[in-house]
Subunit: 107 residues, 2 copies
């Protein structure tokens, strides 16, 4: 599995607009196991995103999806910047598959 | 919903032991919707945890569960420290319930 933890900063007053775009644009992404969109309660412009993917390739491929491309275009004017983006290697937990479906042999 | 994103540091060479304790100790926690345990590929001692809970109370209550208490006791000698712990307010996404079951009216 591959994952990312990132902190994004919205333009002043635009966090809710950006959250809505993020939620709509990321509904149907093949290979995406978890995509948590969250507000930072201590920072009125900050958004935290934690992603878990089958593998790095499925994350890369998602960036070319029309729905994701549209969300990037629509969201860009409302983004002030990215404070951090940390790749992670998920190993398990609640809601995390114990084995990646993509890693199972095809029948 | 309530959430946390934290970075924990294992004692040198003890990350795998600590990961195993974390995964076993957090399997059955009422109100826990997501608990992602991940390695930091760029830092051999670092562990990232992203948690999503029905509410803050269910997270607090989990700290008193015997299984969690046992994991804390077993894990503590292998923990060097905590680099960060950020409360988050999850709003949705893939794998995140759109409405908290705890928030639904009881029948």
């Amino acid at each position: 599995m591959f994952g990312l933890i990132g902190k994004m900063r919205a333009q002043p007053g635009k966090r809710d607009v950006l959250l809505d775009i993020l939620l709509r644009g990321t509904e149907h992404m093949p290979g995406c196991l978890i995509y948590i969109v969250a507000k930072d309660p201590a920072d009125p412009e900050a958004i935290w995103i934690t992603e878990v993917w089958n593998d790095h390739a499925s994350h890369e491929a998602s960036l070319s999806l029309p729905s994701v491309q549209a969300a990037i275009s629509e969201g860009r004017p409302h983004i002030a910047g990215f404070d951090s983006s940390t790749p992670i290697e998920p190993v398990g937990g609640v809601g995390v598959p114990s084995a990646s479906p993509a890693a199972l042999p095809l029948e």
